[in-house]
Symmetry: C2
């Protein structure tokens, strides 16, 4: 008798904003583990904006998801059976795993995490992919200097909130752009940003002029669209723009059109550099170590928006495009035992 | 009795494309030279697209021209009277000088050039500002590697033609975009580009796909607008875009609108870097030396479109926006004696 579990497959390539109809929750068997494999119970699933891009059948930095196959993303799990000398039952692990309740994987597909040092979910956020994205994008491309002005969009999100805090640690004047009063309050009161702008209720161009009296030296781009259009006229000479995300356009069906940037870049000798965290894989150790140190020293705060239950994974993903999350969006599937 | 000369002043800030009415040819006195000054007879005047930007009253990397004052640009002249120990009568010099037939300048405002080594006008083009722009933009930002594909727009212009030839020297597959059959023929037959596209008669996106079967690694941006819109979908991972000019938009009165670039930059981890040649002033010697070597070795060709007569300076400037020039646009005002 095979033990069955729930799994989530992509059944349509979304047109525009994804809907529940693009996904299907099915029942599938739990495979058995061969030599060198472990059975991992899914504990936390990371839902991320970049997954939207993989749902399109277009060339990008990672291949698209196949239709009628499971979605995969960052997952924290617990080993419940091990046929590997590298893992013991009970080990808590991280890997890129399918959206299902249990995965059987080769021993090199996951790595152990120390959930005594930090809560396991932190390895999906501040100590994981989104923290490293913030770390390398800001420090390697943005290179903020003391006294410079750093603006970050999506500022209350998983990446943006870490970007702003690292920029503060480097002595910058930090301005966040976010989409609710609650988020603005969080950025100012909890994360100690110097200013925060609610793009839904404020005139962003005017608010930026007021919040950035000395112009903008670094703009950490998470959203694209009209919000970033307002940045370019305020760039200082030799400004740097790490281009991390453009969530405002991920669901566009029409071409995403706005003011061309070339003229601004020439006038100010500014740089835009697209990147993905994978570019820095050789330096993950260095980044993770510094992030962990800051976290331990209380210099870095992080928030998680936890959705409970595997059945709500799709909802949690769709909510990303409503700006419903503060900090990292995570689905909690099971407890660590 | 004062000797009078012709001068050209800016009398209106152009709206859109400049017209003759924005300038005025007047008669003004030739000043007399004080100690440490020289009188320079204007020989060649450089007319350049970037001057259009200085006619607007907006913040940029160099201050705008003042209304009712003379335009200044790169000028080659000959010393006809010297009150400086640094210069002798007859010396051929280069400086940023007003558009007039004679200038009286301090000795540190001009520098001697060796017009035995290369024709004097070359110091306004391949050995001067435009050659250095090509050199540093391509090599410092574009960093073409052997076998990579380099696309350059404005390819038959003063900067573009040098960019393409340096890229060939570095072993790249070089594709030029220009605006006439004559220019396309020049790029292929004379400069040995691997392919050239006539944007006025060809579908640029389709022609680029054919000319760049391996995608685009470096795009040297001189024009902006729809031509560069066609580049972004073909960028390879880690592509580099030196953003040097955007002549297509210099005369725009409306906002210059097109597809936003953020998504393309993220997908390919590509870089756009605005620059002006002045950023590299500390390294001009290094660039000028290598350009002169290539020129002497016959590895670098250059063209000039010479307009004869000071009276036609404004025409020569206006022609830049009709794409009338092949190579560097220069006005010849007088002979070297």
């Amino acid at each position: 008798m095979r033990i069955m579990q729930k799994q989530i497959k992509l059944i349509n390539r979304p047109k525009g904003t994804p809907t529940k109809d693009d996904f299907k929750m099915i029942s599938g068997p739990i495979e058995s583990a061969s030599d060198g494999e472990v059975v991992v119970k899914t504990v936390y699933i990371s839902v991320d904006p970049y997954l939207r891009g993989r749902m399109n059948d277009t060339k990008s930095y990672i291949p698209p998801f196949a239709l009628n196959e499971m979605i995969t993303s960052g997952v924290i799990g617990q080993v419940i059976q091990s046929n590997s000398s590298l893992f013991d039952k009970g080990d808590v692990v991280l890997g890129a795993l399918p959206w299902q309740e249990y995965s059987v994987v080769k021993e090199n597909a996951v790595r152990k995490i120390d959930h005594q040092m930090a809560p396991a979910s932190a390895y999906l956020s501040v100590l994981g992919m989104t923290g490293l994205t913030a770390y390398f994008g800001l420090l390697d491309i943005g290179k903020p200097k003391e006294g410079e002005t750093v603006v970050v969009s999506g500022a209350a999100g998983a990446v943006g909130s870490i970007v702003g805090q690292i920029a503060k640690l480097k002595g910058a004047h930090v301005v966040g752009i976010a989409g609710s009063e609650e988020k603005v309050k969080y950025l100012i009161d909890e994360l100690r940003f110097d200013a925060a702008i609610n793009y839904k209720t404020q005139n962003v161009a005017q608010a930026l002029r007021e919040a950035c009296p000395n112009g903008i030296d670094v703009y950490f781009e998470n959203v694209g669209g009209e919000i970033s259009d307002a940045i370019f006229p305020l760039l200082n000479n030799f400004a740097r723009i790490p281009v991390c995300g453009a969530i405002s356009s991920y669901n566009n069906e029409q071409a995403d059109v706005g003011p061309r940037v070339q003229g601004y870049l020439i006038k100010t000798s500014s740089l835009m550099q697209g990147f993905t965290v994978g570019n820095y894989s050789a330096r993950f150790g260095e980044g993770a170590k510094e992030l962990a140190t800051w976290l331990k020293e209380g210099k870095l705060k992080y928030e998680e928006t936890i959705t409970e239950g595997f059945d709500h994974t799709i909802d949690a993903f769709l909510d990303l495009f409503n700006g419903a999350n503060l900090g990292k969006a995570i689905v909690k599937v099971a407890d660590i035992e």
